[in-house]
């Protein structure tokens, strides 16, 4: 056992940590105090984070200051909320017989261009055939198609409207492999195809 001098820094520390061990009462008091400190710290951190999340909700979006923003990731998720519900936009639908003829004719001509992919046609040539009947935006989607993957080679029937609104018409066009379901919308340039899928 080394000699323990009652003087100096280490003796002072020893006196500190041995203090709770002198009696059961002191030990109990120490445990209670430590618990209080831990609980207080947890509660304090919780309160701080809740408050910062709250200010994030209040301030997001409404400020426009010329300081640079950290590009990259969104800030911490804020308290779970949803915008007040709004009714979805739904156009009033018209009887199928009200489908404008120009819309049906654009669907038919578009389908004819879609099935027209002779051996060796380039993707660009194929898209050029569709261009007069397609919206600018949707042409950007069509350039990703490999015409060699188009299953049909000819249109086999008349276009038929399946859903009609004043400025958008859903049209089906049968081909020798499948039936096309084409969305035709009225644009500043007239009726144009803005989307399609196969009828499943």
């Amino acid at each position: 056992m080394p000699i323990r001098t009652p003087r100096g820094r280490s003796a002072a520390y020893r006196a500190l940590w041995q203090w709770p061990l002198r009696s059961p009462a002191r030990l109990g008091l120490t445990v209670v105090l430590l618990l209080a400190v831990v609980v207080g710290a947890v509660a304090g951190i919780g309160a701080v984070t809740v408050r910062s999340a709250g200010t994030a909700v209040a301030s997001s979006g409404v400020t426009l200051t010329p300081q640079p923003t950290p590009a990259g990731r969104p800030a911490a998720p804020v308290t779970p909320t949803v915008l007040p519900p709004v009714p979805a936009l739904t156009p009033s639908s018209l009887p199928l017989s009200a489908a404008p003829n120009p819309a049906l004719s654009v669907a038919a001509r578009w389908a004819a261009a879609w099935v027209n992919h002779p051996q060796g046609v380039s993707a660009q040539q194929w898209v050029d055939g569709l261009r007069p009947f397609t919206t600018d935006e949707y042409l950007g989607v069509l350039v990703g198609v490999d015409p060699a993957n188009i299953p049909a080679t000819r249109v086999t029937g008349e276009p038929r409207a399946t859903k009609v609104a004043s400025r958008s018409v859903q049209v089906t066009v049968p081909t020798n492999a499948l039936t096309l379901d084409v969305l035709v919308v009225l644009t500043d340039e007239g009726w144009r195809v803005a989307g399609y899928d196969r009828v499943s």
């Binding site: 002072a12 520390y13 500190l16 951190i45 994030a56 301030s59 997001s60 979006g61 409404v62 400020t63 426009l64 200051t65 640079p68 923003t69 950290p70 590009a71 990259g72 990731r73 969104p74 800030a75 911490a76 998720p77 804020v78 779970p80 909320t81 949803v82 915008l83 007040p84 519900p85 709004v86 979805a88 936009l89 739904t90 156009p91 919206t135 600018d136 935006e137 949707y138 042409l139 950007g140 989607v141 069509l142 990703g144 198609v145 490999d146 993957n149 188009i150 299953p151 609104a165 004043s166 400025r167 958008s168 919308v185 009225l186 644009t187 500043d188 803005a194 989307g195 899928d197 196969r198």
Partner: protein, 338 residues
């Protein structure tokens, strides 16, 4: 003074304690930042289009959830996830593969198809996908799909349907979008991935700084010419400008303006906040006819890439214009259809 001398003993304690506090606080903040976008498949990025599909169900096909698949389909989905995981591909690649296989083969390993298409992904031996026996092997077909997907530049920041189409070059370019919701459901059901869209819990506001970041990006592009189909960096079309602006802010949007309309919660235009999207449609009650998108800056101002012959510009919002859609979209927030 003598009384205070014992306090010197506390100096090392305070030093150690202080270091500990600093360490913990920084760790806590870093953790918060790191999970800022939720447990998404691409850390820190919110796929606003995927969220709108997974949470509103508006565009999802009828009854498509992991629970409605039969045993064979679930088996094949599990195989796809297993193979992709073993290759070290991240969960977003599993999701793209699942949406693709659902569209191509209904998640069945079919020994037939259009012309020489075969198997889960309907790969064509004549187009360089492998021998018929190979493309009919689910492990091989998943492997080659994942290989080609990972070669697509920026594949994990593209909308799921665009990433799938870039690999498949299908005759139905956006057909995969129908299955994004199902694929996200499968990834969470079979592999335990939470929040596949990465947009975090329900939100009614943009993440802090996102609106400012997007607006500042767009303002930095003012004067660059409008070219249809362009997504920067020197020319833009309307949705291309919005796409890039929000990418900078950590939110990934779909490519086309009517899809961007669906990529978040809606507010009446008069309640728009900076960072919300405004739209023009030839029939403002019909989202199918949306043909233009603008970024609202606040105070009645907006920034847009208007049309051919014009440049990116700042203008006052024409609140009375007959084509202005009455709802604005707050990208990446929780869908709120009544």
């Amino acid at each position: 003074m003598r009384l205070l001398r014992p306090l010197r003993l506390l100096v090392p304690l305070v030093a150690v304690g202080g270091a500990l506090v600093i360490f913990l606080v920084f760790g806590f903040l870093a953790y918060q930042g790191g999970t800022g976008g939720g447990a998404g498949l691409v850390p820190g990025y919110c796929d606003a289009g995927l969220r709108s599909i997974t949470q509103s169900g508006s565009r999802a096909a009828v009854g498509d959830s992991a629970a409605t698949l039969n045993e064979e389909q679930r088996q094949n989905a599990a195989t796809i996830i297993g193979v992709a995981r073993q290759k070290g591909a991240p969960p977003r690649a599993w999701l793209v593969a699942l949406a693709t296989a659902k569209q191509e083969s209904d998640l069945r390993n079919i020994p037939y198809g259009d012309r020489d298409s075969l198997g889960l992904f309907q790969q064509r031996p004549s187009q360089g996908w492998g021998s018929p026996a190979q493309v009919l092997d689910p492990v091989y077909s998943t492997t080659i799909f994942i290989d080609r997907l990972l070669q697509v530049p920026n594949w994990d920041r593209l909308p799921v349907t665009v990433a799938a189409q870039t690999v498949q070059r299908s005759a139905f370019p956006d057909a995969y979008a129908k299955w994004e919701g199902l694929a996200a459901d499968l990834v969470s059901q079979l592999a335990g991935v939470t929040d596949p869209a990465g947009c975090g819990p329900n939100t009614a506001t943009l993440p802090e700084g996102a609106a400012r970041g997007a607006i500042q990006f767009a303002l930095g592009e003012v004067g660059k010419p409008y070219v249809w189909g362009a997504t920067g960096p020197n020319t833009y079309d309307c949705s291309g400008l919005i796409l890039r602006a929000f990418q900078v802010a950590g939110i990934d949007l779909p490519r086309v303006s009517w899809q961007q309309f669906a990529a978040g919660g809606h507010v009446p235009v008069k309640q728009a906040q900076p960072g919300d999207l405004l739209f023009y449609a030839t029939d403002p009650s019909d989202p199918a006819t949306i043909h233009h998108v603008m970024l609202y800056m606040g105070d009645g101002q907006m920034v847009e890439a208007p049309y051919s012959g014009e440049s990116v510009r700042v203008r006052s919002v024409p609140w009375g214009y007959s084509e202005l859609v009455p709802l604005a979209t707050r990208p990446g927030t929780t869908p709120n259809r009544a």
